[in-house]
């Protein structure tokens, strides 16, 4: 923590109703204001303000040398950010879609993640890579992917996925202040409203959801701390991003008393909250949109099995995307929606 201030009581802070894009924009604005070393860059983020409007207005406010467009080169964007970090800046590069982060992977895995380790702390990579991720928007194969497991597998990277405007702002501020490289995945399906998986019903905007009340000004949510979305006793749900809302909706629909945990940070994981919950409920449902094999759910399942074995009353359920590339026309057959989650819940309840 760079800033020594009296803690803000969020309960008393004035709030505004923001959607997730506005909350992210607010976080960037606040951090650019507070720290002259924060620099925002990426494809179309400057004058235009980003293809999702996350950086709207920032270039006008902070100037072209702090918010600027880049060539279409993810390897260059990440590589340049590593060099800026080595100089002493705090870069916040954007990768337009998580599906396009792969050309920058060598710079993330071999460089950003290892800089501190291989130089014994002489050089660090205090950067936050923001990237829209996840499906549910008819994005087809290259605008829908959830590649978080590729990053949670890399020693030296932190991986964060917010699920509400309130968390998005606080977590992004914490990520930018963190001295380790952070991959900040923004579930684009819930940029405008908390999509619940019932794709055939109208989607509510964030303004109707309590978590769109975003405190004004600076606050941060510590990385590595999960959020209990709903306390319960029947079973534990481990989810993050869009799937927090989908799982919550299905549990509500089925009227089950589930304890729903939004992990928020995947690495470092809030293992304490996970253990405490599963020890209480004795059952665990893991939900993610990413493909199943070697997905982050496998790690979660292994951890729960190793650490809560004697409390488990049923096999751990893992509801995920299928092991195929993300299809376009068959999106809702792929998406781990209410039917797939519902059947897993039935199995847990019967066990």
């Amino acid at each position: 923590m760079t800033y020594e201030e009296t803690p803000v009581s969020l309960a008393e802070a004035p709030t505004r109703r923001l959607n997730m894009i506005e909350a992210i924009n607010d976080a960037l604005d606040i951090m650019m204001e507070r720290d002259p070393n924060v620099v925002v860059m990426g494809e179309d983020v400057g004058y235009f303000g980003g293809v999702f409007r996350a950086t709207a207005g920032l270039q006008k406010k902070y100037g072209k040398t702090r918010v600027f467009d880049t060539p279409i080169s993810e390897c260059g964007i990440i590589g340049v950010a590593v060099g800026m970090g080595a100089y002493g800046l705090r870069p916040v590069p954007e990768i337009q879609f998580a599906d396009y982060i792969y050309p920058g992977l060598d710079q993330l895995v071999s460089e950003a993640a290892r800089l501190r380790y291989r130089s014994a702390g002489e050089f660090t990579a205090p950067m936050t890579v923001r990237s829209p991720f996840g499906g549910g928007i008819f994005g087809g194969q290259t605008h829908s992917q959830s590649p978080e497991a590729l990053f949670t597998h890399v020693a030296g990277l932190k991986t964060v996925v917010p699920s509400t405007p309130h968390d998005a702002k606080g977590l992004l501020i914490a990520a930018i202040e963190d001295n380790d490289p952070v991959i900040f995945f923004e579930p684009k399906r819930i940029y405008n409203g908390p999509f619940n998986g019932y794709y055939d019903k109208p989607v509510e905007p964030w303004s109707k959801h309590p978590d769109s009340a975003v405190p004004e000004g600076y606050y941060s949510i510590p990385l590595g701390k999960a959020r209990i979305v709903r306390p319960g006793h029947a079973f534990t749900v481990l989810a993050y991003g869009t799937m927090v809302h989908v799982a919550s909706a299905v549990c509500a629909e089925k009227g089950v008393d589930a304890e729903i945990i939004d992990l928020r940070t995947l690495v470092p994981l809030d293992i304490e909250t996970v253990e405490k919950s599963v020890e209480k409920t004795g059952k665990c449902l893991i939900v993610h949109e990413a493909t199943r094999t070697s997905g982050f759910g496998a790690e979660l399942s292994a951890l729960v099995q190793e650490r809560c074995f004697y409390h488990l009353e049923a096999p751990i359920e893992r509801v995920t995307g299928f092991d195929t590339p993300y299809p376009h026309s068959l999106e809702w057959a792929y998406f781990p929606g209410p039917v797939r989650i519902g059947e897993a819940i039935d199995r847990l309840m019967k066990a």
Partner: protein, 431 residues
């Protein structure tokens, strides 16, 4: 797909480059166009990039066949500076020889020499300011030596001993020396190029006056990072110097596999719209002058420069390599640009500022200096002899703080030591 309607067209043929000489072949370098020293114009440092394009196909040279410095690229260094340059190059060579031997004696696992290429690191280091950040590859140990970095520290790193600043985490020669503005070396080729551009962009964003310089071998210019770096440097007019050390060989692959059959490496600059220079990499004065030109250009906000250093990798790629398996041994002997240390030595002798006797005495003194440093470093241990960093340090610096899973794994590692050595205790480094 033969026998179809297109059978009247000639068959396509794949071209796979082949070096001119293989083991046992007689070497004839007459195909190499070696420009005469002094014949290359020196454009204004702030000229449009296009004005440098003829120099991308030429070879900037200062020292002529009689070892005299020629205008217009003569950097006009005083004799003391020339002697310092000679000394740093000779020390680099003495260091390499000793470390190579150390590897053969089992004191470390690995080493890489830069024999024949000393000018491409020592001369630029002397032409840059001490706080300009350098982003080296693994063959620029001459920069650390020219910047006066402790060779004991370098050997500690090579031996991965208990005094190794990098705590034994890194392969030998992958130095990191922030105090010498020397960026941490990575095993992943060419990644340092966009990083250097980013550092230079940061310096420009902050209105600083420091510049960045990066090194890469000609083989690694084939990496995508090279293209990204050149593009970003050009787009943002970043104050950065790219040094392409064209030593003709990337392990066993000759430079043709990086595209050298078609054009020069300096000529890559043309397509990006940045300044390019091709220099005699075995001519320390030409290398110094080119770096000085590019540094002045960068500092004047006139943009980046790509310098190709045309040189020859006189030794094997590394201690794990045997070049006699893929190239003619004669190549080194016949190399038409000679040896950089000898050329500077002869230049100083021609100036009346040096002598064979002085040189012999200096070499003896440097050998002794390296020997003393080696003994000093050996007190801190050599690889595999037990004097290394405590192994719990393996878990540090992955993140700024140790997360729970690394704490658990650290405890596991300590537990394993206790199982293997029941007498083990904290502070006891035997492992």
């Amino acid at each position: 797909m033969s026998g179809n309607a297109r059978s009247n067209l000639p068959s396509l043929a794949l071209h796979v480059p082949e070096p001119r000489f293989r083991p046992g072949d007689k070497v004839d370098y007459s195909h190499l166009k070696i420009s005469r020293a002094g014949e290359q114009p020196r454009p204004d440092e702030q000229c449009p990039a296009a004005e440098t394009h003829p120099l991308c196909l030429d070879l900037v040279r200062v020292l002529d066949d009689q070892h005299r410095a020629t205008a217009p690229w003569d950097p006009r260094l005083d004799a003391d500076t020339l002697r310092r340059m000679l000394r740093a190059m000779a020390l680099t060579r003495a260091f390499d020889d000793r470390m190579y031997r150390g590897q053969r004696q089992g004191k470390t696992s690995f080493y890489m020499k830069c024999t024949g290429e000393e000018a491409t690191s020592v001369a630029p280091a002397m032409a840059l300011a001490g706080d300009d950040m350098v982003f080296p590859s693994y063959r620029q140990q001459g920069i650390l030596i020219a910047r006066g970095y402790s060779i004991v520290e370098m050997i500690n790193q090579i031996y991965s001993n208990r005094a190794d600043k990098l705590k034994g985490r890194q392969l030998p020669i992958m130095y990191s020396a922030r105090e010498a503005s020397f960026f941490t070396i990575s095993g992943n080729l060419a990644t340092q190029l966009p990083q250097a551009v980013g550092w230079a962009m940061a310096s420009a964003i902050k209105g600083d006056s420091r510049i960045a310089a990066a090194w890469v071998g000609e083989g690694s210019t084939a990496e995508g990072d090279f293209h990204s770096a050149m593009t970003f440097a050009a787009v943002y007019n970043a104050p950065v110097i790219f040094n392409v050390v064209n030593n003709q060989w990337a392990i066993s692959s000759f430079s043709g596999f990086a595209g050298a059959e078609r054009t020069t490496f300096a000529a890559r600059a043309i397509g990006y719209g940045i300044a390019g220079l091709r220099v005699d990499g075995n001519d320390p004065l030409a290398v110094y002058a080119a770096t000085q030109w590019a540094a002045n250009r960068a500092r004047a906000n006139a943009g980046p420069t790509l310098i190709e250093h045309f040189t020859y990798r006189a030794e094997g790629h590394s201690t794990s390599d045997d070049p006699s398996q893929y190239r003619s041994a004669q190549e080194r002997e016949e190399w038409p640009l000679g040896d950089p240390v000898n050329r500077l030595k002869q230049h100083l002798i021609a100036l009346g500022e040096w002598s064979e006797d002085q040189h012999t005495a200096m070499d003896r003194e440097l050998m002794e200096q390296v020997k003393v440093a080696t003994k000093e470093a050996e007190k801190n241990g050599i690889l595999g002899h037990g004097l290394h960093h405590p192994f719990h340090t393996m878990f540090e610096d992955v993140f700024e703080e140790l997360p729970w899973h690394l704490k658990e794994q650290s405890e596991q590692a300590i537990h394993e030591r206790r199982v293997k050595w029941p007498e083990w205790s904290e502070g006891w480094n035997q492992a």
